[in-house]
């Protein structure tokens, strides 16, 4: 479980995050949603420690990340996996070497044991026959899947995904969403996904936080979101006419 309490973050004079608090549960896909520029990525990067917060607490299973020493932070980071928007695979390494990298860096496993773990993770994300290819030789969807494989290779307790569906076609997006959701449930990890994709919200949104202009506006789950009275959230969700129709149909059904 990850808990954030009263998070504030500014860049120079601009206040980007204002008093955000939320509990992200274990075994659930926790979503941070909001428009582009709303502060989602800053919040996610603050949670993982890529940005230092100005005020507030970030607790990883009651361990305070904000006051932790660099040494302890590095250790805690070995319990984290992150999937970046563009995949962030290392260009100079093959698919297999990318996935094996954390194992090479932090474990004492033999090469055979590492290979077994790499094969397991690549199989888990439905990638085969691409082990020896370089990231430039695979598609966007495959890059995301390799990034997920690399993120879970160390059996993390916490998984973070920054816009995992950006640049993907709807079908591949669905595959990625399902994959992240099933990994979260199967491995019982705490997953936080940063997205503005409403399809993802409706597919896998177990626990949703909506932020706008750096402020927390709403929290709930995917069934509650269609009935929201929150004006800002309505503008965000029903910007897509498809969801207006879904809402109207549901209301008519009632």
């Amino acid at each position: 479980m990850i808990e954030i309490k009263n998070i504030y973050k500014s860049f120079e004079q601009k206040e980007v995050l204002k008093n955000i608090s939320k509990v992200f549960n274990k075994g659930e896909t926790n979503l941070i949603i909001g428009r582009s520029g709303s502060g989602k990525t800053v919040l996610l990067k603050s949670i993982v420690g890529l940005h230092d917060v100005d005020q507030g607490q970030i607790l990883y299973d009651d361990r305070d990340f904000t006051t932790m020493s660099t040494k302890l932070r590095k250790k805690l980071r070995q319990e984290m996996g992150m999937v970046f928007q563009g995949g962030a695979l290392f260009d100079s390494l093959t698919v297999e070497e990318n996935v094996r990298f954390p194992l090479d860096m932090f474990t004492e496993l033999t090469l055979a044991e590492k290979q077994k773990q790499v094969d397991f993770c690549l199989e888990r994300v439905n990638i085969s026959d691409a082990n020896k290819l370089s990231p430039s030789e695979i598609s966007g969807g495959m890059k995301k899947r390799v990034a997920i494989a690399r993120a879970i290779v160390m059996n993390p307790k916490y998984l973070f995904c920054d816009e995992p569906n950006s640049g993907l076609d709807p079908e591949t997006s669905l595959v990625i969403d399902d994959l992240i959701h099933s990994i979260t449930v199967d491995l019982q990890i705490t997953t936080i996904i940063n997205t503005h994709d409403m399809n993802s919200v409706m597919e896998i949104g177990d626990n949703i936080l909506f932020i706008s202009e750096g402020e927390m506006y709403w929290e709930g789950n995917r069934t509650e979101i269609l009935h929201t009275e929150n004006q800002k959230l309505q503008e965000f969700v029903f910007a897509n006419k498809q969801y207006q129709r879904i809402r109207d149909d549901k209301i008519n059904d009632l």
Binding site: G81, Q85, A88, F90, M105, F106
Partner: protein, 247 residues
């Protein structure tokens, strides 16, 4: 402007502190260092050889052209070429050229990793990205630059030996006598010290500009240019300082 320079200098030294912290896994760093020696050092041998042969030939021609007095012995042409190569060309001028070749390579590689979040990805894993990416490059360039210097002197002398006799400015015997005449080994020691310093400057300054880049491909290009310009200036400043201190 002054604050900006101070700010950048402070950031440079704080990055160096991060670079020289304890590596997570020595074997991976070692492997990375050998890769960098190959990429940054061995792959520069060709260009160093070509430039040095031509420059050796050109310096020989220029010395011969300026020795219009028939009373001056022609073996001085070899001596002039040797001392120019040993003292300045193969260390400083080659340093400036390598700042362009190796430096821009380092900045663009690290800068591209930065803007595509590969560096963030390393940090999330708990890897000291600065140390993992920059330390092997610094070690590789500091180790390889003195070797490139020695190769450059060798090829420069060969260049002079080809061009001098070819244009009839000096005989091979006189040229060979000249390059051995009044040889002071300290000149080589002095230049090797300069190479170590220049190697460090080239790798660390280029890495700094790559590591601190923000934005996209355009910014990586700008950072690359700034890295080369700043490295060149620092090489010249340190050349002046070391010449005053050591010669």
């Amino acid at each position: 402007m002054r604050m900006n320079i101070l700010n950048q200098t402070g950031k440079y030294f704080s990055l160096l502190l991060k670079v020289f912290s304890k590596p997570e896994r020595h074997s991976l760093y070692m492997k990375q260092t050998f890769n960098e020696i190959e990429t940054l050092g061995v792959q520069s041998v060709g260009i160093v050889a070509v430039i040095s042969i031509f420059m050796g030939g050109i310096i020989t021609l220029q010395v011969a052209y300026n020795m219009s007095n028939p009373l001056l012995p022609t073996y001085l042409i070899g001596l002039g070429n040797r001392d120019t190569l040993i003292l300045e060309f193969s260390s400083t001028i080659l340093g400036l050229i390598m700042a362009g070749k190796i430096g821009s390579n380092i900045t663009s590689e690290i800068g591209s990793m930065k803007v595509t979040e590969q560096i963030d990805s390393l940090e999330i894993m708990g890897v000291n990205s600065a140390s993992y990416l920059i330390l092997p490059k610094i070690i590789a360039v500091v180790l390889m630059f003195p070797l490139l210097y020695i190769l450059s002197v060798f090829f420069g002398l060969i260049g002079g030996m080809i061009v001098g006799p070819a244009v009839g400015a000096v005989t091979i015997t006189d040229y060979l006598n000249g390059i051995q005449y009044l040889f002071d080994p300290y000149y080589v020691t002095f230049s090797l010290i300069k190479c170590l310093v220049f190697g460090f400057l080239i790798a660390s300054i280029a890495a700094f500009f790559g590591y601190t880049v923000e934005g996209g491909a355009f910014d990586v290009g700008s950072a690359s240019t700034r890295a080369v310009v700043n490295t060149n200036i620092m090489i010249l400043v340190w050349d002046l300082v070391l010449t005053q201190l050591l010669l």
